[in-house]
Symmetry: C2
Amino acid sequence: LDADGETGLTFRTLAARLDTGAGAIYHHVANKSELLLTAALQVVTVVVNESDRGDTDREAIVSLALGIFDAVDARPWLGTQLARAPWPEATMLVVERLGRRASALGVPSATQFVGVSTLAYYILGAANQNAINRGLSTDLGDRQDFLDEMSAQWEALDPVEHAFTRSIAGQMREHDDREVFSAGIDLILGGMLSAA
Amino acid sequence: LDADGETGLTFRTLAARLDTGAGAIYHHVANKSELLLTAALQVVTVVVNESDRGDTDREAIVSLALGIFDAVDARPWLGTQLARAPWPEATMLVVERLGRRASALGVPSATQFVGVSTLAYYILGAANQNAINRGLSTDLGDRQDFLDEMSAQWEALDPVEHAFTRSIAGQMREHDDREVFSAGIDLILGGMLSAA
DNA sequence: ACCTGAACACCGTTCAAGT
DNA sequence: ACCTGAACACCGTTCAAGT
């Protein structure tokens, strides 16, 4: 799974690795979906326990978010599993930790439901996007080439029709992934706290 | 595509519908991915033009977001295409509109890049989640049964280990999808404006 | 230039037959 | 109770052969 990704893991290769038949695996898991979700829960349990820390609740939320970001960066297949709907157990584990910290931070209880799910969508979306982009850039040269090309494409767009996209092309080229990601978490936290 | 979803559209069924061979389609599109992205761009172009309106920029952003939410609700395959990485042309069209409105709204230029991508991740994540949940609930009885069961499951969790999840179980049961979605947009906009 | 459709190289999943 | 692995029912994609 870690070596060849989600499509690399087939019941045939897995059976060969376990020195058994493909059908035998169905005596232990119902189907491929369950297999992947089980793997995801196992990884996330560790990540959440290791990253839910910091001197303040706010720091703990950023730390949790970065923990997921880094885990998905290292294992792109994980991002796909966490973003499934309805949210699987692994994702609910992250939501639980985020919510507890948000509550302790003083986010009004009326905004906790919306706030935490906003945080979760942002974390999963940004982590997935980052992981896939990184996969693409190792294929097609290095990250900077990839960003340069994307940025150049944006700058070549129509100045009227795509004014905003052009205006952020420079930032796209020079941004640091983890820093921008953290800034996003801070922005959402700001919204949650000022919504009182 | 609209009738049977993404997996329902195969080159064989499409060829049968067009009274031709499966291979012939490859003379018009490179592969299935390109086919789906083309369909997505076509739909989103219309949606964006129809929903980018309101008396204020803030209202226009909410209207845009709801436009995408509703479009994905009606066509779940669209959500999958918009959430692809790197963001396809159709998604960039949404980002452009959101960014232009955010800029006009007075969001500091330093936070526009982070703010608009936060908004985009939230919109795509929430719209997809909603669409898939709705698909599940039409299969397994109606929406309320689905929410009741999920809510009951959450309330049955361990009170210590899952304190937060339990605390939002009630809201999960009673929430209105579009209202909660709008509230999330407002929360992010609040964060973008107070980040000055 | 475009179409045809059999063939290729796969999948996840099932199931009769074994141990 | 568990394993085996051929078979089933599909995919997206390719390509020699046609028009």
